[in-house]
């Protein structure tokens, strides 16, 4: 049984159909990248799973339980931790309060305290400034904070929407480096939305390519070659060949 199974998901915003029957699954311990151009429906997919937007059709199952149309807090309590686009820290809460907020859904506070220690060990910057308002952090630091905060919920699956959005390339490298370190240390299951498919190929795992609300390509990152991906990404055979010749 897959940890997360999405079947034939359709999401509409009024007249506009954002997802047209998307099916995918995430297995325990794997990393699945969802890539695709702007407006492909990547963020909508995550929002529908998180319970922020309500799907028109289709089923979403988390560890076997049907979570379609659940309230966001219910889905979060079942172990789906979402890191939305745009680094949504609570700017007026301190860094430690931001981290501690996700602990509300856990029974075992001793384990949570141990997790906090581990997170502070991985992100010493967060420990140093733990009593400062989160709003003062730079974009890259806020991205680290929201990832750390998601981990504090002891999630079964972490979904991250565009972790590289608006960050300098060097900072993006740091974010991914830490993410991969955490993945290894904590056997995380990750669902990452990323506009850049190159980043996905570099990081490894499985990839699905979304375009106009449909999956147009999927496969293991190391089995996909750049040219195929590029053709699927842009949806026609044009630019890759033209620029190559």
């Amino acid at each position: 049984m897959s940890l997360l199974a999405v079947e034939n998901l359709v999401v509409r915003y009024g007249q506009l159909t954002a997802l047209r029957g998307v099916s995918l699954h995430v297995e325990e311990g794997e990393t699945l990248f969802v890539t695709g151009p702007n407006g492909a429906g990547k963020s909508t997919l995550l929002k529908a799973i998180a319970g922020v937007v309500r799907p028109a059709e289709g089923r979403i199952r988390l560890a076997g339980a049907d979570i379609t149309g659940n309230a966001p807090e219910t889905t979060a309590r079942l172990g789906f931790s979402m890191v939305p686009e745009g680094r949504q820290v609570f700017p007026e809460l301190t860094i430690e309060e931001n981290l501690w907020l996700g602990v509300g859904i856990r029974r075992n506070r001793a384990a949570a305290a141990a997790d906090l220690d581990h997170i502070y060990a991985v992100f010493p910057m967060l420990r140093e400034r733990r009593h400062a308002a989160a709003g003062i952090l730079s974009g890259g630091q806020q991205q680290m904070l929201v990832i750390a905060r998601a981990l504090m919920t002891a999630p079964r699956l972490v979904a991250i929407d565009e972790p590289s959005l608006g960050l300098a390339p060097k900072i993006i490298d740091q974010v991914y480096e830490l993410l991969m370190r955490l993945r290894a240390e904590r056997q995380l299951t990750l669902l990452i939305v990323e506009q850049s498919s190159t980043r996905a190929l570099m990081t490894g795992g499985r990839l699905v390519l979304l375009r106009s609300g449909q999956i147009v390509l999927e496969g293991a990152c190391d089995a996909l070659d750049g040219a195929t991906l590029e053709r699927a990404y842009f949806g026609y055979d044009g630019p890759a060949e033209v620029t190559a010749s």
Binding site: A71, P72, R77, P84, F90, G102, G104
Partner: protein, 304 residues
């Protein structure tokens, strides 16, 4: 010196009422972007439960007969329960609606409460005397101050400290502050929306009950419209403080109370009847200077 002290106590006790009212409005605005115009009617309701319902001119004490030690918590609890009931029956169903719809619903709810009171008690103001001990005066450094003022100010300080401790030190408080900044994100971290909103309504209604008690002891009358003026000033205070900022609402409440009392003193005698015009002119000046309010929160974005 004694005159200054008297003015100070007047300003602080009036400011206390406005601050508590503003806090009640700001708490709910913070978590669900609702300006609850029924708040004034919660205040009136909390007062009228002290009286036996009758449309005759007589006033017979109902809950007003309780000894103070019971009276105060019971009235505050009734304010909280009424507020929670309005969330469950009215506002919960409108949570996805736009803010204007919710605001109009709050007007409607206010009318329902007001007219229910009218039916049960008639529109005649009724004289009511509770907690008579508070009417006496105490001497503070040579000035004679009504005990009620001292108690109002002390109670407000206690309430503000307790609420601060609650918001800063408890899990619920943390969840409430987070929800006020970004409700959707808070929910995605497992914060239960219904629980946080219900709690905000409970605290807000409890504050309305406390205000009702102070106003009724102060004026000795129960009037259907008694909550209106406090509600109006409190709403203005939340705007001046920066909608969504609890701290700003409290400070602005005290500022408006202080300005009112100060105007009463410094205005020439002929201008005093128009005191409120001068106070609101100040309000306009502040809003022209800072349209976002004095302490606008960094996160005043749309949510839920």
């Amino acid at each position: 010196m004694t005159a200054t002290l008297q003015i100070l106590f007047d300003a602080l006790s009036l400011g206390s009422l406005y601050a508590l009212g503003a806090l009640g409005i700001a708490l709910i605005f913070g978590v669900m972007r609702l300006v609850n115009f029924a708040h004034g009617d919660y205040i009136a309701f909390s007062v009228f439960v002290l009286l036996w319902p009758t449309t005759e001119a007589v006033s017979i004490l109902l809950l007003g007969q309780l000894p103070p030690i019971l009276l105060i918590p019971v009235v505050i609890a009734i304010g909280a329960l009424l507020s929670m009931a309005s969330e469950v029956t009215v506002f919960r169903r409108l949570r996805e609606a736009n803010p204007a719809t919710m605001m109009i619903a709050s007007f409607a709810l206010g009318f329902v409460i007001k007219h229910a009171l009218l039916m049960a008690y008639s529109s005649r103001p009724k004289s009511i005397s509770i907690l008579p001990g508070l009417a006496q005066q105490v001497e503070v450094m040579g000035a004679r101050i009504p005990l009620l003022q001292v108690v109002t100010i002390l109670a407000t300080i206690v309430i503000l400290l307790a609420l601060t401790a609650f918001l800063k030190r408890t899990r619920f408080g943390l969840e409430m502050r987070a929800a006020a900044q970004d409700f959707t994100m808070a929910r995605m971290l497992g914060v239960k929306a219904n629980r946080v909103i219900l709690l905000a309504f409970a605290i807000s209604g409890a504050l309305a009950g406390a205000i009702g008690l102070v106003v009724v002891v102060q004026t000795g009358t129960a009037d259907i419209n008694m909550g209106l003026s406090v509600m109006l000033v409190a709403f203005i205070a939340t705007v001046i403080g920066g909608l969504g900022s609890l701290y700003g609402a409290v400070v602005a409440g005290f500022l408006i109370g202080g300005a009112s009392v100060l105007m009463q003193v410094i205005l020439p005698l002929e201008a005093r009847p128009f005191r409120d015009a001068f106070v609101y002119a100040l309000v306009i000046a502040v809003l022209i200077w800072r349209p976002q309010g004095l302490f606008a929160p960094r996160s005043s974005r749309q949510r839920v």
